[in-house]
C-alpha cells in the first residue's frame, strides 16, 4: 500500500494521524510537535555538539573526535571512551555480542541527596544508553575468543555499585565457562555511594570471581583507562597478569564528589594520591603504556603467547639420563 491520502475505501487507516479529529490545537500537539521532535531531538541536538579537549582546550567536532576513538587530534589526549565504542575498538567487527547482566537491586536504600538516586539512574541510562556502569561482551580479538567487561565512564561517572560488581562477576564466570581470557577496561570515579553496603561488598565478590579465573589459568588483562579511582579497579590491577595503560590514565583514591563531571580541565587537575600512568609504571603497578589505537594489537600479541602453551609432556623421563628421584613432586 502506497503512502498517501487516498486509502482504499473501507480502510480504517488515518494517513495523517491527528489531522482528522478534534480542533487545530490537537493537530499541533499531536502531529507537528512530535514530528519536529523526531527531526531535531535528541539525536540531532546531541550531534550538533562540539567537544573541548580538557588538556589543550581545542574545540573538536564530536564526530571527528569519535572517528578518532575520542583521542584529541591536536594533543593526542585520550578522552573517556564509552563501553560500546570500546567493544568496537577491541573486538573484531561483527564477532561480538553483549551479554545480559542479571538485574541487581536498583536503589536498595531509596537514597536521596539533592536529587533522588532513582532519578539519577534513569537520567544516566538515557544519556549513556547503557543499563549500568559496566557492560559485558564476548567476541573475538584477532580471531581469539575473549570476554570483556568495560566500565562505562558516562554512566554516573562509572561509579561502581552493586550492578557494576555483578557485571564483573558475570564476565569472570563467562570467561571460565568459555575457557576464554578475561579483559577488563577501567573507567570509574569511585564507589557508588547510594548503593551503600551493596557497593562496599562488590570488592570481595570480585576478588572471589577473579580467583576462579586465575585457578583456571585464564589470562586476565586489564586496560587502565582514565579514571580508575574505585577499589574494584584497584583489585583488578593487582590481580592482572598484564596491565596495559592508556597514556595519562590515572589511578588513585576517589574524589570527594564521584559524580563530578568528566572531560573538563578541573577533572584533570592533580589531586593527592592520584598517579598517572607513567608514574604508576615507575612504581611497578603497570606493565606497558600504549596508545588507545594500538591496544588491540598489543592484546592480540600477548594472548597469542599466553594462550598457546607448549604441548604438555610427551616424554616422562629425562632423555639419555637415568635420574634417581629424591622428591617425586608430591603435589604434582
Amino acid at each position: 500500500m502506497g503512502f498517501g491520502g487516498r486509502a482504499p475505501s473501507g480502510s480504517r487507516v488515518e494517513p495523517w494521524p491527528g489531522i482528522t479529529g478534534g480542533n487545530g490545537m490537537s493537530w499541533l500537539t499531536n502531529f507537528v510537535r512530535p514530528t519536529l521532535r523526531r527531526w531535531i531531538s535528541p539525536r540531532v541536538l546531541r550531534e550538533a555538539q562540539w567537544v573541548t579537549c580538557p588538556k589543550c582546550g581545542a574545540t573538536v567536532f564530536h564526530r571527528d573526535l569519535d572517528a578518532n576513538w575520542r583521542i584529541c587530534p591536536h594533543c593526542d589526549h585520550h578522552l573517556t571512551l564509552s563501553a560500546a565504542r570500546r567493544f568496537d575498538l577491541l573486538l573484531d567487527a561483527e564477532s561480538w555480542a553483549r551479554i545480559e547482566i542479571p538485574g541487581a537491586p536498583a536503589d536498595p536504600l531509596k537514597f536521596r541527596d539533592a536529587r533522588r538516586y532513582g532519578e539519577r539512574l534513569k537520567e544516566a541510562a538515557a544519556q549513556s544508553r547503557e543499563a549500568e556502569a559496566v557492560a559485558v561482551a564476548h567476541g573475538r580479538i584477532d580471531g581469539r575468543g575473549a570476554v570483556i567487561a568495560a566500565f562505562e565512564p558516562h554512566f554516573l561517572c562509572g561509579t561502581a555499585g552493586a550492578a557494576a560488581g555483578e557485571a564483573v562477576v558475570a564476565a569472570a564466570e563467562l570467561a571460565v565457562l568459555q575457557d576464554a581470557p578475561l579483559l577488563v577496561v577501567t573507567g570509574s570515579q569511585g564507589p557508588r555511594i547510594p548503593d551503600g553496603a551493596f557497593a562496599l561488598l562488590q570488592l570481595p565478590r570480585v576478588i572471589l570471581a577473579l580467583r576462579k579465573v586465575a585457578e583456571r589459568n585464564l589470562p586476565l588483562i586489564v586496560v587502565l583507562a582514565d579514571p580508575a579511582f574505585d577499589p574494584i579497579s584497584e583489585a583488578l590491577l593487582q590481580q592482572a597478569d598484564v596491565v596495559l595503560a592508556e597514556p595519562e590514565a590515572r589511578l588513585g583514591p576517589p574524589p570527594a564528589d564521584p559524580f563530578a563531571p568528566m572531560d573538563t580541565p578541573a577533572f584533570l587537575a592533580p589531586r593527592g594520591g592520584v598517579v598517572g600512568a607513567a608514574a604508576a609504571r615507575r612504581r611497578g603497578r603497570i606493565d606497558r603504556i600504549a596508545d588507545r589505537r594500538d591496544i588491540k594489537a598489543e592484546i592480540a600479541a600477548i594472548l597469542d603467547i599466553l594462550c598457546r602453551p607448549f604441548p604438555s609432556a610427551t616424554i616422562l623421563a629425562y632423555p639419555g639420563q637415568e635420574t634417581k628421584l629424591i622428591d617425586a613432586a608430591p603435589d604434582a
Partner: protein
C-alpha cells in the same frame, strides 16, 4: 673499543690498522694486519687467567642482558613492574617467541657504573615473571649479565629462589657477565645452567675475597691470586658440575661481536628448550631439586 690492560699488543695493531684505513688502505696489507690481530686475539683469549676473565666479563661493551633478550625474542613484549612498589630498570623482562614457542625472558643487567643497587624490587619482578611462566606453561629463560645485589634483599631473594625451585616449566639460564653474591645462585637453580665462555660466577667478588690475603701485598697480585682461588671461570664451574655447558664466544670475546654472541646464546638455548619442553613438569622440578641436593653432600661422587 676499550682495550683491557693485557690487550696492549692488540691495541697497537688495531691503531696501525686504523691508520692504514685512514690513509686509503692497501688490500693486502690490511688483510695481513687483520690476520695478525686475529692470531694475537686467539693467543690472548686462549689462555686468559681467571683475573683476566673477570676483566673481560666486566667489559663495559659486553652485551647486556637487555640487548641479548631483544635479539633472542621475536616480537618481545616487555613487561614492567614488580606489582608492589617499583620497576627495576636493571631487570628486563617480557614474553616473546623463540622458534614459535612462547617463552618468558628475564634479563639481569649490571649497573652502568658497576655500583651495587637496591635489588629487592628487581628480584620481586623476577619472581613475578617466573610465576607468569608457571601459570601459562611457558618455559622461562634467565639471561644474567650480573647478579642483583642481595645485601638488602634477603626476603625478596628467598621468595625468588623458592619460585624458581617450584617451577614446573623448564628454566634455562645463561650467565653472560661477572656474577657474584647470593643472587648468583638463581642462575644455578635452572634446569640447564649455561655460561658464556668468559663469564664468571663466584660467591663473592675477587675484590671481597682478596680481604682474606695478608695486607700490604701487591694489590694486583692479590686480586689475581683471589680470582685464581675462587675457581670462578666457566671451565672451572663446568668441572665442578655447577653448570651444564659452556657457550663459546666469538674471537676476542663477546664484546667484539655482541650480535654474534647473542645468536650463539640463542642457538644454545633453543637446543636446551627443545629437549626440556618434552619433559613432564613434575619430573623437571624433582630433578632440579635433586641436582641441588647433591651439592655439599659428603658422598657426592662426580
Amino acid at each position: 673499543m676499550l682495550f683491557l690492560d693485557f690487550e696492549d699488543s692488540v691495541a697497537a695493531l688495531e691503531a696501525e690498522l686504523a691508520e692504514l684505513r685512514h690513509g686509503g688502505g692497501g688490500g693486502e696489507e690490511e688483510a695481513r694486519l687483520k690476520a695478525r690481530i686475529d692470531r694475537q686475539l686467539d693467543a690472548l683469549y686462549g689462555r686468559l687467567t681467571p683475573w683476566q676473565t673477570v676483566q673481560v666479563a666486566r667489559h663495559p661493551e659486553r652485551p647486556g642482558a637487555r640487548e641479548v633478550i631483544r635479539v633472542l625474542g621475536r616480537g618481545l613484549i616487555e613487561l614492567a613492574g614488580d606489582r608492589a612498589e617499583g620497576d627495576d630498570p636493571l631487570v628486563a623482562g617480557g614474553i616473546a617467541r623463540i622458534k614459535d614457542h612462547g617463552v618468558v625472558l628475564i634479563g639481569h643487567d649490571r649497573a652502568e657504573d658497576g655500583a651495587p643497587r637496591p635489588a629487592a624490587s628487581g628480584l620481586r619482578k623476577t619472581a613475578r615473571l617466573l610465576r607468569l611462566a608457571e601459570r601459562f606453561r611457558l618455559p622461562a629463560v634467565l639471561i644474567a649479565a650480573a647478579a642483583p645485589a642481595a645485601e638488602d634483599a634477603g626476603p625478596a631473594l628467598r621468595a625468588c629462589l623458592e619460585t624458581a625451585l617450584d617451577l614446573r616449566v623448564p628454566l634455562v639460564s645463561v650467565a653472560t657477565g661477572a656474577l657474584a653474591g647470593p643472587a648468583a645462585a638463581l642462575s644455578v637453580c635452572a634446569d640447564a645452567p649455561l655460561m658464556l665462555q668468559h663469564a664468571c660466577l663466584s660467591v663473592v667478588t675477587p675484590e671481597a675475597a682478596a680481604a682474606l690475603w695478608p695486607e700490604g701485598g701487591d694489590a694486583a697480585r692479590t686480586l689475581s691470586a683471589a680470582a685464581d682461588s675462587l675457581h670462578l671461570t666457566a671451565a672451572a664451574l663446568l668441572a665442578q658440575g655447577v653448570i651444564d655447558a659452556v657457550i663459546a664466544e666469538p674471537r676476542g670475546g663477546a664484546h667484539r661481536e655482541p650480535f654474534a654472541a647473542a645468536r650463539e646464546i640463542g642457538a644454545a638455548l633453543l637446543a636446551r628448550l627443545e629437549t626440556l619442553r618434552h619433559v613432564d613438569g613434575g619430573l623437571l622440578r624433582a630433578r632440579r631439586r635433586e641436582r641441588l641436593a647433591a651439592f655439599g653432600r659428603a658422598a657426592a661422587a662426580p
